[in-house]
Amino acid sequence: MIRVLLARAAQMLMVMAAVTAVAFVIFRYVGDPVLIMSREDATPAEKAALSQALGLDQPVIVQFGRFVGRVLTGDLGNSFRNQRPVSGLIAERLPATLELVIVATVLALALGIPLGVYCALKPDSWLTRSIQTISLIGISTPTFVTGIVLILIFSVWLKWLPSFGRGDVVKLGWWTTGFLTASGLRSLVLPSVTLALFQVTLIMRLVRAEMIDVLSSDYIRYARARGLPAGYIHRKLALRNALMPVITVTGLQIGALIAFAIVTETVFQWPGMGLLFIQAVSFVDLPVMAAYLLFVGFMFVSINMAVDIIYALVDPRLRTRAA
């Protein structure tokens, strides 16, 4: 077990090194930082001075070394656009995105798993057929369409829920949360539902397929033949086996949600990482883009590591293979 974790950690470091290299390339070579940062009428002397100040006159390898050193100490440079440290910007935006993603994931699991189990147990009921049909719509409609339709219905016509922003937030240290105010919670509803819709469908279909598979397995037939109650067989014995792939997919999806919440955040003007990134792209704010890349890479790698650990905890076969 410990060996496997060490191996994973080593792989994680390698992936992060590769991501850092890519981030450096973006930072250094996409556009000329001197040209972007200096005034239009700057003299060559001024440009040279700026280049020296930024360390761009040094050999590439030295620049990369310095970049890695800065990243490791948490210094991701200053945003070109508003001249503030990028790490500060990210810390400001991170809570919004994470809260949105967490709520969306919980929603997806809370709805997807029971619906999937129901569809597997009652394949012929009318409810199963309607769930299947609706889920097909859910998976095939683009996020921005769902978002706009939801805004139209619940904000414009019914005027029940706010259509943009996070509402009132409470500061807990550097973290800002929308969980503690009524307006914050109300603001979360539409974006998280929009974000979760695709995930619900995905998880539901996955659980359904896995559950059908597990229910026809020998050990479940054997459990039936021992006269164990159906509820116990389904809830305790079968579901645990069926949820194994759900762990992997949920892990990957959390990473994807964080990285690609961009569309939803744009539709709802949600002040999260995605919106930060979109703005950075439109202003060619390279330090922010590089930092975003690093951050997303880091999230993916650490979530995968967490998935591996959970897997080993749930499946005894992985535990001993490693021991």
């Binding site: 060996r3 060490l6 191996a7 037939r221 006269g227 164990l228 076969r317 001993t320």
Partner: protein
Amino acid sequence: MTTVPALAIEDLRVEYPQADGGVLAAVDGVSLTIAPGEIHAVVGESGAGKTTVANALIGLIENPGRVAGGTMRIGGALLDPATGRGDGVQLGRDIGVIFQDPMTSLNPLFTIESQLTETMRFHLGLSQVEARARALELLKAVGIPEPERRLQSYPHQLSGGQRQRVVIAAALSCNPKLLVADEPTTALDVSIQAQILALIKDLARTRGLGVMLVTHNMGVVAETAHSVTVMLRGKAVEQGPVAQVLRDPQHSYTKALLAAVPRLDRKLTRFAVLTSEKSEAAHAARQAIAGKSPMERTPGDGPLLTVENLTVDYVTRGWLPGSKGRSMRAVDGVSFDIRAGEALGLVGESGCGKTTVASVIAGLVKPTSGRVLYAGETIVGEGAGRASRQASRQALQMIFQDPYASLNPRMRIGAILAEPVLFYRLAGSKAEAAEDAALLLEAVGLERQHAKRFPFAFSGGQRQRISIARALGARPRLLICDEPTSSLDVSVQAQILNLIKDLRDSTGLTLLLISHDLAVVRQMCDRVAVMQAGRIVEIEAGETLFETPRHPYTRELLSLVPRIDRIAIA
């Protein structure tokens, strides 16, 4: 006997509605009685309905099938097939069940303790502590070493035999009146099979347990059961004490079934088969195939195939690139020759490395050291030339165990058979290849028009014929058969083995037969190599080996095979 029978089935009928509106009776008017302490075998081939009888008892008839008539009584109490319960009887408590495959009948995510105790907690209302104490007793009773530690184990930490013991312990946990064992030893090696059968016999005697033993293995019936029911197409065609039915079968089907069982005690020229074999057309087709093939080429005086000091290590990947993990020696210094036209058998229990040897010869696995020579040229290992390897690929063809997995389900049979013919440029045009495919079908006893169909339209035995035809398409010198009939019924096995014999007679094909079934090997092979833990412990002319085995392991294996001529309970 005046005692209440453990099981009394009367006029049981199980129906499956068909797509055309008709009804298929999978079990049609079967009656049988099992006394306490009696082991009653239900035998028959696949589709005979023997497993359906067991499933009806344990409430596992899958939709849309249903129990359409008849009664089932457990210890005198009527069982409701819909609920698996009855007046004072309950599935799981009064009927214990053992399935065929111990590797898949335990849930991989739960401990042995959890799976043993849950049945007792539900049926007997025991607390976890009481159930645990009883689980411990049960594990001792079924002979599991270190039962305390095993309770905490997960299924994957136990061997197949131990798992089957756990399954038996679970089946016995609520003191059932009846044990339903559906092919309980089919997935096990002969040595483990002997232990498990002895355990079942012992439990039946000491606990007065009625046992319904569903099996296709006549040897198991002879050595284990008191009485037997022979089933054919849903009907019980013959019933009676084992000694009577096996020694003096009355029904023609029983006679044919017994005749098809490969004999371990003597070698016969052919297997008795139930249906007539269309041999003349097939023989002509075989001659035609052999005529236009390089099969006739003589290899010179040396052996056709030589395996020299073959060693294969399976190495698990390390956790960093380049680092090595643990390694397991699957094959350990194996050497043998096969002469042209000879049939060599390679036997041993699962995990002994026999399939790995075949895979190395076929070029599917790279050996750690050692080499394989074909007609004097190295084809595997140090110094193997590209040209000789290519030539040997065509000359060595393989047939696999599972006929359901070895044919591409999306290709028509004609295309499957034409593929090797075209690949090795044995036909000038597609039309010529199609004609060749038709010829190949005839050679294996199928019909020309079968080329248009897809694999799903064929039974297991027919699929294995197609696999053989595909191998013949390349015009091989050596046919490597890895358990070619293990998944087939005895009558179909007899047909396939006869086919292989006929092919050898018509074409002089050389054969390497890998099997765990010593009786099949005796019938098929001129020479036999016995493998144990990666090594060949004895290699000898077939009849010598079976009549006077020298190595203790060979002797042990031979003594453990259940034989129809050894009836235990007269």
